[in-house]
């Protein structure tokens, strides 16, 4: 099973002819992901290492049956690329691009509500289902298949915790980077709802950070809707208010969005919060161990 990407994924990469797009797209293919097409307007008919390039996503979908797209398009044009994928009927759109204007994402988010497309990202490392498919820039070699679903706003922190889990002998069903922007296509709640339905996922690890109130809302959601155990980690206790900590969405506004408030909201719903990535991994490993 796993969620979002698996052996049924047929991937089209928007921006496959670019340096980053080809590097990561071909890495994903090497991992075993079925990479069926690339899209670069004006380069239709060419190929990248045997992968056919199309001028439009529509043409790529018609010719190859692509159902998943990865967006590797520069920030000023990325929203347009997402709209194009949704218009072509792509089910899962994974946008890696960092630096998309927030107003573009408002329009994208509200438009996608009326479609059947699901967006992961932007400003995210992508989605990996170990042993099945990798769509994005997650270094797959640390991860093995297992029962922990991992969802995170941060890339490297995901690798850090995933690697610590691997060293404790715990594998993952799917690793989902939802992205570090103020508005992303899928929230913690959206992804956790998928993990709850996924028979392969036994336990969920959520990795949050300062900014916004997603973690607080997720705590409420978990308490009312999730039967599987959840372990959390929150980064940014030392972050000062009013400063963007790297990610566009990682900012404490006034007194809202602090790590303290998020950790307290989760703990109030009996969700254990690790003090550091190592402790979060250990808490997860103990709980998976207890179930097997």
């Amino acid at each position: 099973m796993a969620i979002l990407v698996d052996t049924g994924t047929r991937l089209v990469v928007q921006g496959l002819t670019g340096r980053e797009g080809s590097f990561h797209g071909l890495r994903n293919r090497e991992y075993g992901t079925e990479l069926v097409a690339g899209v670069t307007p004006g380069k239709g008919g060419q190929d990248v290492e045997g992968v056919p390039i199309f001028d439009t996503v529509h043409a790529a979908v018609q010719a190859t049956g692509a159902n998943t797209s990865m967006v590797f398009v520069p920030p000023p044009f990325a929203a347009d690329a997402i709209f194009e994928s949704a218009d072509a009927g792509i089910e899962t759109i994974i946008c890696i691009t960092e630096g998309i204007p927030a107003h573009d994402m408002l329009r994208v988010y509200n438009h996608l509500l009326g479609t059947s497309s699901r967006l992961i990202g932007p400003n995210c490392p992508g989605v990996l289902s170990p042993g099945k498919a990798n769509v994005g820039i997650i270094p797959a070699h640390f991860f093995s298949a297992g029962g922990v679903g991992l969802v995170s706003r941060s890339g490297t922190l995901t690798y850090q915790i995933g690697n610590e889990l691997a060293q404790l002998g715990v594998g993952n069903s799917t690793i989902v980077g939802i992205g570090g922007d103020p508005v992303v296509g899928s929230s913690f709640i959206d992804v956790i709802a998928l993990f709850e339905q996924d028979p392969e996922t036994e336990l969920i690890v959520m990795v949050g950070e300062i900014g916004g109130d997603e973690e607080e809302r997720t705590a409420e959601y978990i308490a009312g809707n999730v039967t599987k155990p959840v372990v959390a980690y929150i980064a940014g206790f030392e972050a000062p208010p009013g400063k963007r900590m790297g990610h566009a969405g990682a900012i404490i506004s006034g007194s809202s969005g602090t790590a303290q408030a998020k950790a307290e909201a989760l703990e109030a719903k009996k969700i254990p919060v690790g003090r550091n990535p190592t402790e979060a991994a250990r808490l997860a490993a103990e709980r998976v161990g207890a179930r097997t």
Binding site: A102, I138, H141, Y233, A235, E238, M245, A248, N276, T278
Partner: protein, 381 residues
């Protein structure tokens, strides 16, 4: 990016939002000339990106040219909650009958713009009771409609004769919010004058940093001299840096990992000096740029370089660090934590190098303990 009041008012004027006539000045003489041109009375207003200007004495009324010059002299160079006033705005004084509050906010939680209106203006909006603020979300695909303005005006219970002009102002503020890629457009106070004109007396505008590429006029409003010198240096070198006030310099790859590193150092008893994300960079020149920014803070007593190698390999990073250390003179100890892809080889490269200030660690927690101890030794020496 936060705009100063007068910059926000420039955008207001461009979008047809009524604002008082004013002039920008940086010296008392300029303020005097501006005041004479505008006619008296005028208000001299300190231009700083912080609230509470009025209480701090940064806003003063002048009845004649001498008074305008004296007030300008007092305000320029004044310290307002840690910020030095470098610029002032000289504005025709307004005849205020009523003060309201109006704003358009990027509501990330609802993923929609939020428009707010209150009849209780002129004070800190956080001090206004919830029920006194009318709020309404706007569908960004449809935009601000006339009924939005009416509904807000009736719910906020503003004076009946200004419902139309206030609604019209909110519509223009919304247009500006979208056109300027703003995260916040706030008018406090939004006033009604004695002759019942609706005017924006203050302007607070924050523009999305990610959109500055398509907002060249706004991007040019940035004043580097008003920023922290280290943060300014970081911007010029394309490094993501936030200055804090501790003694442990911190850099790493990835925003989340660096945030987490700050927390772990604090848990180990140290105080982080900064946040610095080097991104995926392993090249010597990227590491040199980052270390130079970090070490320009004289309080830094030890450095923690936290790398989790993914696609970037730890051996590449180790070589980059050694090359960087050949190019710049580093006086403080550096703890390098290398974990992930090719981490053993990376640590071996660093251990074999003849660099006495380098220490290596395998885990984040071990690295944090080491760097905190080294920073203490440095502070004691």
């Amino acid at each position: 990016m936060d705009l100063l009041e007068y910059q926000g008012k420039q955008l207001f004027a461009e979008h047809g939002v009524p604002v008082p006539q004013g002039r920008h000045a940086t010296t008392p003489k300029e303020a005097r000339a501006a005041a004479e041109e505008l006619g008296f009375p005028v208000v001299i207003k300190a231009q700083v990106q912080i609230g509470g200007r009025g209480k701090a004495g940064g806003i003063k009324l002048a009845k004649d040219a001498d008074e305008a010059e004296t007030h300008a002299e007092a305000i320029i160079g004044m310290d307002i909650r840690g910020l030095t006033v470098q610029e002032i705005w000289v504005e025709q004084a307004s005849d205020i009958a009523t003060e309201y509050y109006g704003a358009v906010v990027f509501d990330r939680s609802a993923r929609k713009p939020l428009v707010m209106l209150s009849a209780e203006g002129g004070m800190d909006i956080e001090a206004v009771p919830e029920e006194k603020i009318a709020r309404l979300h706007v569908d960004p695909l449809v935009g601000f409609l006339p009924f939005h303005g009416r509904r807000l005006a009736f719910e906020a219970a503003i004076d009946a004769d200004v419902i139309r002009p206030v609604g019209a102002m909110l519509a223009k503020l919304y247009d500006l919010f979208v056109a300027a890629d703003a995260m916040l457009v706030e008018v406090n106070p939004l006033i009604v004058t004695g002759d019942r004109q609706v005017v924006a007396l203050d302007a607070k505008v924050t523009v999305d940093d990610n959109a500055l590429m398509r907002q060249p006029a706004v991007a040019e409003m940035r004043n580097p001299s008003a920023e922290d010198p280290q943060e300014q240096m970081a911007k010029e070198r394309g490094v993501t840096y936030v200055k804090l006030d501790g003694e442990v310099g911190i850099l790493g790859n990835g925003a989340g990992l660096v945030m987490s590193t700050l927390d772990v150092v604090a848990q180990a008893g140290g105080r982080p000096a900064n946040f610095l994300d080097v991104g995926g960079g392993a090249k010597a020149e990227e590491i040199v740029a980052a270390l130079e920014v970090l070490l320009s803070d004289a309080k830094v007593k030890a450095v923690l370089f936290n790398i989790f190698g993914g696609i970037t390999r730890c051996d590449e990073v180790a070589r980059g660090i050694l090359q960087a250390l050949e190019q710049i003179d580093v006086q403080v100890p550096i703890v390098v934590r290398l974990d992930g892809t090719n981490d053993q080889e990376g640590r071996r490269i660093l251990a074999d190098a003849d660099a006495s200030q380098l220490h290596t660690a395998k885990t984040m927690l071990e690295a944090a303990d080491m760097v905190v101890a080294l920073a203490r030794e440095g502070a004691a020496a």
